[in-house]
Amino acid sequence: MKWDKQQAVDVDTNRAGVAMTETMGTSEEKLRYLRTQLHRAMQLEHATIPPYLMALYSLKPGSNLDAQNILRVIVVEEMLHLTLAANLLNAVGGLPDLTVDGFVPRYPAPLPDGETAFTVNLAPFSPDTLETFLKIESPVPPAPDAALRGTRRVLYGALSSGLGSTTDEKRFATIGEFYRDIEATLNQLYEDMGPDRLFTGAVDRQVTSNYYYSGGGELFPVTDIASANRAIQLIVQQGEGYTESVHDAEGEIAHYYRFYQLKVGRYYQRNDPPDGPSGPPLDVDWEAVFPVGKNLSMDDYRHLPEVRHAAAAFNESYGSFLRLLTDAFNGRPQILSEAVPMMFRFRDKFLQLVHYPLPDGRHAAPTFEIGPRRCGP
C-alpha cells in the first residue's frame, strides 16, 4: 500500500526530507542512510516508552482509570512500532542493536532524533507532562490546540546518539516527516535497486505475530515493498496521526488524539472534528498521583542504600531486557516470549520504587540509566 500523498500533507515541510534524499549519491550510500534512519526509528520509538511508563505508574491505584487505560494502550503500541521498525531494518539487511551506547537517552533529553524545541522528562503524570506528550505525538500539520499551533518543531536527522551522524544538515518538522523521509528513501532505493538487492534480510529474522502477542495491532513480517510501506504507514497512523481526521480507516484513534482527550476531559466519538470531542466525559484526577521526583538519577539515592540497590537492579534488568530484544531481533524471535514476563516483573519493581517516599517528600523512581554515561550530545 502506497503512502497516501493526498492525506500526507504539507508539501512545504516535506521539502527538506526530499531534498536530502536527492542530494545523496550512490545506492550504497542511500542504503546505509536508510539503515541508519531505521535504527534511529527504533531508538525514537523506544525513547517514548520510559516517559510514558513513568506517567502511567505514577497514577495511584484505583484512580485515574481513563488515564491508565490510555497510557497503557499507547505504550503497547510503541512496543509494536519498535518491533515493526526492527522488521523494516532487518528486511533491508540491517542489524538491530538496542544495546549500543546512548540507545536509551539520559532524561531530560530531546527526542533521540535530535528534536531541540522541547525536552522530554521522566516525570509523574501532570498537566505539564501531558503537554510534552502532546508535543511528542503532534500530528502534521500541528495540532487542534491553539497553544501548539504556533510551535514549529524541528527534527534533526542527526541524532544526539551513538549511532553516528551522517546527515547533520537534515531537518524534519515532525516525527511523521522523519518517517516520510524513510519512506521516500526506501521507495527510491526500490526503484534503483529492485527488490532482490534491497530486501536482502533473511525472512526468519522477521518477528511475526507467532512470537509477539499484542493488543497494539497487527504485527507482520516486512519482506517486500508493499509490507515495508504498510509498516511505515501503520507506525505514523497509530502514532501522530493526521490533522484532518481523528480516526483512521479502522476507527482507531492516533496517540495525539488519545492524549488530547485527557487534556479536555472528554472522549472522541466517531466523526468528531479534531478540536471537538463530543463523547462521554472522562475523569482526570491530577491529585491522585504519586509525587515522583523528576528525572531522578542514582546520585539522588546515594544516601539510601535500599533504594539505590533497587534502582540499580531495575536498570540492570532493563539492560538485559534490551539485550534480549536485540537477540530476538537478530534471528531468535522465539525468545520474545521470555520478554513478556520480564516486562511484567519490571512493572512490579517500578511500582515498588514509585511507592517509596524519599526523605525530601518526593517519591523514588527508576532512573533508566542504562550503560555507561555519554559525555555529550
Binding site: 491505584p61 542504600p305 540497590h309 516470549s337 513478556v340 511484567f344 511500582l351 520504587l353 511507592h355 517509596y356
Partner: protein, 215 residues
Amino acid sequence: MMDEFSLPPTGAKSVPHPTATEGALRPTMAEFLAFSTDVTAFSRFELQGTGLAQVYLDKVVEVVGRDIVIRLFQAHARLPRTPPSDPEGRKAPSDPEGRRAQFRRSIFGDETLGPVARNIIKLWYVGVWYQLPPTWAEVNGVRAEDVTHTVSPEAYVEGLLWPAVGAHPPGAKAPGYGSWAAPPEIPKCSCEEHQHADHEGHADGLHERPSGTVF
C-alpha cells in the same frame, strides 16, 4: 528516633479511644517500619514499596488507639539491639536467641500488645484486619472499628504473602502470557541482602522468611 521517646504510663489497661486522647505523642512511621521489618522479615524498602505503610499504621491507630500502639513500639524499642560495629568494623556478638525470647515475653506474650502485634503481621501479609480475640476486648474494651475487613483493594494486591511464595495475587499483577511455564521465583530474604546495607542498622537476627520462629 524511637529511643528519643519518653515512656508512656505503664500498666494502663483501660485505654480511651484515640479521638479522646490528648497528648503530643504519636506513633511514627520510623517506629512502625522498625517493628514491621522485625516481624515480617521484609525490608523497609519492600514494606514502603507496597505503598501501604501509612494506610496500615493509620489502620492500627484507628482501631486500637494511639496509646496502645505507642506502648507496642516502645516495648519493641526496649528489646536488646544488635550492638553496633566497633570502629574497626568488627561486629560485637549479637544474641538473637535472647532477643527472640524477650520478643516473645514482652510483646507476643503480652495480653494487650501480643494480639495487636500479630494483627500487624496479618495486615502486611494478607491486607486484612482480623477482629481481635474476645480476651483482648475484655481487657481493653470493645472497639467499634475492630471487625474483620480487607483494608483496601490495594491491600489484597500488595499482600506480602504473594512475594513470599513467589506468586502473584490471583486477579492482579498478572505475570504475563506463558509465564506459568517457568518455576516461581522465590526471592531471597531481603534482610540478608540488606543487613549490611541498612544504614539505620536494624539488623538483628530475627529475620527468617517465611516468618515463623518468633510467633
